[in-house]
Symmetry: C2
Subunit: 200 residues, 2 copies
């Protein structure tokens, strides 16, 4: 990771810094965040932050990276015998809970907002959150094609954008979804993409 200096000397301070950085980013975006505020909220001196990272952007990228485990996987990888529709139905509740989480929603909105002025933050998000899930989803769609539930000539990259994009777009719309609403919404997205077939 660029912008990181040396080995962590104090993992506990690092965790407090990353947590404070992510909170400030969620509250005020890149422009509403400063190294001073991060240090203050983490309860450390500015030098402690600068000893590890050389800019607020570098701290924010590390903070975004460190939060990646808060989103569940979009698909298990080792269940080749289970039909895709069944797999998706198993994943729905966990995914719905994750996307109904206000903090995740806020972080995603902020990453999007920063995409133009700070493409390196979007790149970090992209590499840590989007690409791994995209690879798994692509494999799932290829299996659906093999099963015959999805057209053989479907544009898989665009279909993934449509599914993910719908959810991301819905998340920033007025009137947020609760977990039950998120589940119904996800189900309709997967069904519209041709991945769920008829009712269970």
């Amino acid at each position: 990771m660029t912008g990181t200096r040396g080995r962590p000397r104090n993992p506990e301070a690092d965790r407090a810094i990353l947590r404070a950085a992510l909170d400030l980013f969620v509250e005020g975006g890149v422009e509403g965040t400063s190294i001073e505020q991060i240090a203050k909220r983490a309860g450390v001196g500015k030098l402690t932050v600068y000893r590890r990272w050389d800019s607020k952007e570098a701290v924010l990228a590390a903070a975004i990276e460190s939060a990646r485990d808060e989103i569940p996987e979009t698909a298990p990888t080792d269940v080749a015998d289970v039909p895709v529709a069944t797999l998706i139905r198993q994943l729905l509740p966990g995914l719905a809970e994750a996307i109904a989480e206000p903090r995740l929603r806020a972080m995603i909105a902020r990453v999007f907002g920063a995409s133009v002025s700070h493409p390196e933050l979007m790149a970090t998000y992209w590499e840590n959150y989007v690409l791994p899930r995209r690879r798994i989803t692509r494999a799932l769609l290829e299996r659906a094609q093999a099963e015959g539930t999805l057209a053989a000539d479907a544009d898989l990259d665009v279909l993934i954008d449509m599914m993910v994009g719908a959810v991301l777009f819905r998340l920033v719309q007025p009137e947020p979804l609760d977990a039950a609403g998120a589940r119904a919404y996800l189900e309709s997205v997967y069904r519209s993409a041709g991945l769920l077939g008829g009712p269970e």
Copy 2:
């Protein structure tokens, strides 16, 4: 509109203020914008701004509203005899040009970024940009259902989210689209939604 005071006394100053506000918003988001900066860039005094709007958020909402004509309509409304696929093919070049425009891309990213901390800006964007186009798109999808190219039980709201969401998501991804790429992308989105049928 909330936050606006009285009638415009100086339309030229108003235009300069709204333009400066939108530029600053695109460059630095809500948090990176202040009334002082807006006044300075517009070449007016702070009081001139405060005489018309009571907060930077109110100026930004008016600025977002004022830029709505920069996006072309997603569909003409008075061509009931033309098949949906033909209509969409006619609209594609203009839409592609609009979404390849860096300034529009940046504004959308910023509105999304502000959606959590400043829902009133998203509400302004929603009302002025999204809802009018959504109504037109919905009518188009209902015609496609009547024509039999779209399933009668399709979830139209989710389908609109998938089409719009894909484009918005693509706009903030690394490696921006040029006009030709945007056109190919839009075409694939409309085709994946079942609205274009086979090749022309």
